[in-house]
Subunit: 340 residues, 2 copies
């Protein structure tokens, strides 16, 4: 097996505030050859997701960060080009965690073979992958939506939010989505069947959210924070549940947030309304993967769940696309088509 | 049945900040006579509890408040003086919710007969009553302490905190208590068997709490807030659970607390550490009452749970005792002996 040239995007420097293109660097290197048990993967699709902002921050989070000089991490759908591993053969399509690069030498661990006849393979990075599973497990396990309740989700046209809203509809809830811009708001209503949708930039967001939730809010799936959280907060019903999945409005914050001494109003509401606020990341619910694949696969087949992809072409486009995503520029699951 | 003179303490005016004696007024009135199905109760013991501060505040909480001119609410242990109700006979001792008064005409609903041979009847207001049940249900249901974990509780010499710590010990946890003053700290260690105890007024509270929790904090039973919450916060482990039962450090606050826009650090910790923060009040767990009575009764008999009462004499002493309790002056379950 001949040495393979590889192109990678590495972290050049840690961003302060909004990431800039110069925080990333495209490098070319020699990949080496596949050793015993190894296989050579060619990246077809690279997933860009908000959690990556946490990985390149100096602040401690739930996973090890990317150090300057290291390849950016990320989920991928890849093709097996050559294999010294009996579990995989050239031509297999797999989901992987190869990161922002065109090729990877893999030991075969943590790869999942994909059936390209069952669903487009890119869905393994979206509605049938990590974002869909995040929505499914977080909403059902922590949110526990009951028929007739009101469920609010922000970033609602994104891969997690759109799945949260549609699963809530399947469970018989009134579903209210918040998204950035009129086109996304229309999409939530016209395509995804949300009961109401609001533009997060609307200066009357608080009043309009209250009008859209005449019976208050029973589940708020938190993946945004900021002004959306402010608008949701006074509308929370007794015994409301708040799965905390992300805080994208704050990922580029440079000022240290106020400490717990400033949380009294929230804590008082938690007490008097008996709220449940619980953080999670998708891997906490790994034991639900089979149930997720069964349910989500069926809902997709039945047309009960729709999804939308936002595709950019070529590995070199990844930094700009990632920076834009943190500002809400993507419309649907953001994917980089690294190779065909 | 002759008309009965009654003495009551009514709310004279809503306190601003710390309640003052003039916010309460002792009045004498004519009780009337027991009608059909009614019974006349004589208050033996009146329970004074922190939640009462919320009832006399103008702020909305989980229960209807006491309006100026109305009798203060509160749990009591009472003797049946006369009965037109077939379920009760003169001489019966019952737990009731008669409030701050010497007598009450009751319809018999929500009364529980007490067996004075099984336990001193005052325990129905403490370790075998609402405070004990609050500790039991909140710690076990929300806190879910596991053997070897570290459980921290504040106001730890009080009726809720002392039960939380001792139940945590029974469950095999390292138990760390925080209380106000050296005598209470000694009591936690010497009498109740806490593994460590700290004075909340210690200027080195943060460092000493960190030293007392070398493996971090898995369960923080929140009934205080303020500086204790600040000290606990950085020590919370991943997947920590925080039953929110009370915020006594804030009950006399006059400034409106900061809004949810100031909660980012907390929300970020909830996310990255996958914390569970859940508010509750004891009546949410009414279905656990039988299990509570069984377990707590057995632990008391076995000497695994100890408790302490702080008794003041005469209804007229209730306002001062209540005001002092909000400053932590009581030592143990605060009771007013209204009659013998």
């Amino acid at each position: 097996m001949a040495a393979q040239k590889n192109r990678q995007i590495v972290l050049a420097s840690r961003p302060e505030g909004e990431p800039r293109p110069e925080n990333f660097r495209l490098v070319e290197s020699d990949l080496g050859t596949a050793g015993e048990g190894q296989l050579l993967l060619k990246t077809l699709w690279l997933s860009l997701d908000p959690y990556m902002r946490g990985r390149i921050s100096a602040a401690k989070s739930y996973a090890r960060g990317v150090e300057p000089g290291e390849v950016m991490v990320g989920g991928t759908v890849s093709e097996v080009v050559a294999s010294n591993n009996p579990r995989f053969a050239a031509g297999d399509i797999v989901s992987s965690y190869s990161g922002w690069q065109e090729f990877e030498l893999s030991d075969g661990k943590a790869l999942q073979k994909l059936d390209s006849k069952a669903a487009p393979v890119s869905t393994a990075l979206g509605v049938l992958g990590m974002p869909g599973m995040t929505a499914y497990a977080g909403l059902l396990t922590i949110g526990q939506p009951k028929e007739g309740e009101t469920v609010v989700v922000a970033a609602a046209s994104g891969p997690v939010g759109s799945a949260v809203g549609q699963i809530a509809k399947i469970k018989g809830c009134r579903t209210v989505g918040i998204a950035g811009g009129a086109d996304k708001v229309r999409y939530l209503i016209d395509e995804l069947g949300f009961d109401a949708a609001l533009d997060r930039r609307d200066p009357d967001l608080k009043a309009k959210l209250a009008a859209a939730c005449p019976k208050g809010i029973d589940v708020y799936f938190e993946n945004v924070g900021g002004e959306v959280w402010d608008a949701v907060f006074p509308l929370l019903n007794n015994f409301a549940r708040i799965p905390v999945c992300g805080l994208i409005a704050h990922y580029n914050d440079t000022e240290a947030p106020a400490g717990p001494d400033k949380t009294t109003r929230l804590m008082r509401a938690i007490l008097t309304k008996r709220l449940t606020i619980r953080g999670f990341i998708v891997t906490d619910f790994a034991d639900q993967a089979a149930a997720f694949r069964r349910d989500m696969g069926q809902w997709l087949q039945e047309g009960k769940i729709k999804h939308r992809e936002d595709v950019v072409d070529g590995l070199a486009a990844a930094p700009e696309a990632f920076i834009g995503m943190l500002k809400g520029k993507n419309f649907g699951k953001l994917l980089v088509r690294v190779a065909r």
